[in-house]
Amino acid sequence: MYKILEKEVLGDINKLMVIEAPEIARKAQPGQFIILRIDEYGERIPLTIADFDREAGTITIMFQEVGKTTMQLGTLEPGGELATFAGPLGHPTEIEDYGTVVCVGGGTSIAIIYPIARALKQAGNTVISIIGARNKDLLFWEDRMRAVSDELIVCTDDGSHGRKALVTEPLKELLEQRAIDRVWAIGPAIMMKFCAATTEPFGVPTIVSLNTIMIDGTGMCGGCRVQLTEGAKFVCADGPEFDAHKVDWDLLLARQRFYLDEEKQAIEHWEHECKLEAMT
């Protein structure tokens, strides 16, 4: 069992948890992910590592309550335990001194771009970061991102904080104005698709971190496969980071929707159980 040490609610729907996992913390690197399972009845879900502390022996995860598992996870409190917490999985981000890089983080994924931006900065890059969300309440870690970036651009879809824009707008301007050596874009698949389309005409290498359906996270099930121009790859074992310009985004988006009906059913079942429990 893996103990929940801290919990923080960031804005409306983002929740952060610090998990006691000293073995994983020894080895975790930016860009890698873990698989968790709440209890005996739980499903296995992948979450990218938001932060790690080798000395404290902890892994930080960030999640948005979108499905049954994340909703249930959100009800747990410090002192609670997770049945499964396996990692670090996947390849770490390839950190080098590329020159000038742009790190784009959308919504909950701001937590994932943060350790990557930090490592890129430490490696000597000039780091320009763009973070965005639908509105002010969904933004977080602006200060942390600022601390590891040479420049930080903040945007919201509704203009309630920072610039009123989608992240692709400042990204395009940067590409037009400056020599950018590499871009990381991490967020919802649709955001990553449009970031890829934005950088492609400029020929700037662009890396995305894909979050697909997976079970084991070690290459065993193949449920996470993604179609690249050169053939299919497994997100868990070959990724999770890929060249954004090679990804078949429409197939990826379609594969993410395959279990939508079951996800709804799982939420209904869980809410029903919660009501029954409240009555007793």
Partner: protein, 481 residues
């Protein structure tokens, strides 16, 4: 009771094991074969003529003293029977269920020359189940040797190796990447063929008796590399029994559409994650109304039979499950019993047929499959006749789910930073067949990770041979590197 003569013994018919009716069992996940009653076991045990030079033992990859355990059983000494079994096989309740006895011990039984062989597997299962309930002769843990062994993978090879090393007094830690030990016994083989309660009971029993620690959620290669286990974590030896877990997909158009999945994914959802009990369990599993399983090995049979059960649970009307195989019935690689059970339960077999394209609808969900007929040519490297496509014979199959059961290869994650560990071009570890020694010092390997996908019992045999060699090494009797 007077002793029976051999003539009398040979007149007793082979006892059939009660099974669930095919029409009923295809609608549930309960075990198909129900096991012998004490009376049936006694009757079957009476059939053994106690050959002086028993051929059956030669057919067993781990050399179980078969006539001896059967003799003890029929003389009413079930504890003695179990003790005899455990000299060579620590996991009889599992082996009795999943070994291909018809090609091993029972194939060699002299009774099989004129009639039917002794049902050795069923008797093995009978005493194995008895022991799990009664625990008459727990494995004894000798004084610790102070030597530490890491066993990576908790499937048949790793389990067998770990238990044998534990019986020699070595300190054993088993590392498992998933949340539950058992490997393919848990994620792959379905409940109706091998109940998970049996696997867990067998593992828990052995681990408790011998003080073996099971470290789940440990992905070796990522959490610890092999070198870290050897050089930093204090292990004197490492055994790799990580199996062949990487699924293969056909290289045809449409292979990544929704509804095309590996048998590994499908079976893991059903078995390990208990998807058939969704939404009580969180992991969903979809089943098509017209399912095509590609391949005809044991895994294909398992996937097909799980599909039938899911269709029945969802009360689908007009549902069907096909097995699509590019060779003929004579080449089917599955255990005879599994092939037979699948046929009985209503799986439709399309032999001499090979998929060439999968069609998808506007949501990129499978909407059909184009196939081509094949004929058999000369034998290929595997010794089986090569399927040759018949030009112009293409046709469309109406399917909405395609499950790939084409075999698996070793998962490469475990090899991260494992310098000096030589592998073949198929990704399997190069290891000595007799000892399990690899090209890397203090590292042994056995099971599917060495041979490619094979059987449970052959992996157990490899785990056993490696354990013996590791023990010799730890006792200072041999040092191959």
């Amino acid at each position: 009771m007077t002793e029976l003569t051999n003539r009398e013994r040979m007149k007793i018919p082979r006892q059939e094991m009660p099974t669930q009716d095919p029409g009923v069992r295809r609608t549930n996940y309960d075990e198909v074969a129900l096991g012998f009653t004490p009376e049936l076991a006694q009757q079957e045990a009476n059939r053994c003529i106690q050959c002086k030079k028993p051929k059956c033992v030669e057919g067993c990859p781990v050399g179980v003293p078969i006539p001896e355990f059967i003799k003890a059983l029929r003389e009413g000494d079930i504890e003695g029977s179990i003790r005899t079994m455990k000299e060579k096989n620590n996991l009889p309740a599992i082996c009795g269920r999943v070994c291909p006895q018809e090609t091993q011990c029972e194939a060699m039984c002299v009774l099989g020359k004129k009639g039917k062989p002794v049902a050795i597997g069923r008797l093995e299962r009978y005493i194995g189940d008895y022991e799990l309930t009664h625990r008459t002769c727990p494995l004894e843990r000798p004084e610790s040797t102070g030597k530490h062994v890491a066993v990576v993978g908790t499937g048949p090879a790793g389990l067998t190796c770990a238990v044998d090393l534990g019986r020699q007094g070595h300190e054993v830690v088993m590392f498992e990447s998933l949340h539950s030990p058992g490997g393919v016994l848990v994620y792959g083989i379905p409940e109706f063929r091998l109940p998970k309660s049996v696997v867990h009971a067998e593992i828990d029993y052995a681990a408790e008796c011998l003080g073996i620690r099971v470290h789940t959620d440990a992905v070796i290669g990522r959490l610890y590399t092999i070198d870290e286990l050897l050089n930093e974590e204090g292990f004197d030896a490492v055994f790799l029994g990580t199996g062949a877990g990487l699924p293969s997909f056909l290289r045809i158009p449409g292979i990544n559409y929704n509804g095309v999945l590996s048998a590994n994914e499908f079976l893991t959802r059903v078995n390990l994650m208990k998807g058939y009990r969704f939404p009580e369990y969180d992991t969903p599993v979809k089943v098509g109304k017209k399912v095509a399983v590609i391949g005809a090995g044991n895994v294909a049979m398992d996937a097909a039979r799980c599909s039938l059960r899911l269709q029945a649970l969802q009360e689908m009307e007009g549902a069907a499950v096909h097995i699509v195989y590019r060779r003929s019935p004579a080449e089917v690689p599955a255990r005879v019993e599994e092939f037979h059970h699948a046929e009985e339960e209503g799986v439709i077999f399309d032999f001499l047929t090979n998929p060439v394209e999968i069609y998808g609808d506007e949501n990129k969900v499978v909407s059909g499959m184009r196939c081509i007929r094949t004929e058999l040519g000369e034998p290929d490297d595997s010794g089986r006749r090569r399927p040759i496509p018949i030009e112009g014979s293409e046709f469309d199959m109406d399917v909405d789910m395609v499950i790939m059961a084409l075999g698996t290869s070793p998962n490469p994650i475990v090899f991260i930073d494992a310098g000096g560990l030589e592998r073949s071009r198929w990704g399997t570890i190069v290891a000595n067949e007799e000892t399990g020694q690899t090209t890397k010092a203090r590292v042994w390997a056995g099971g599917d990770v060495v041979t490619g996908a094979a059987t449970v019992i052959s992996a157990m045999g490899a785990g056993k041979r490696a354990a013996a060699d590791i023990d010799r090494y730890l006792e200072g009797e041999s040092s191959p590197w």
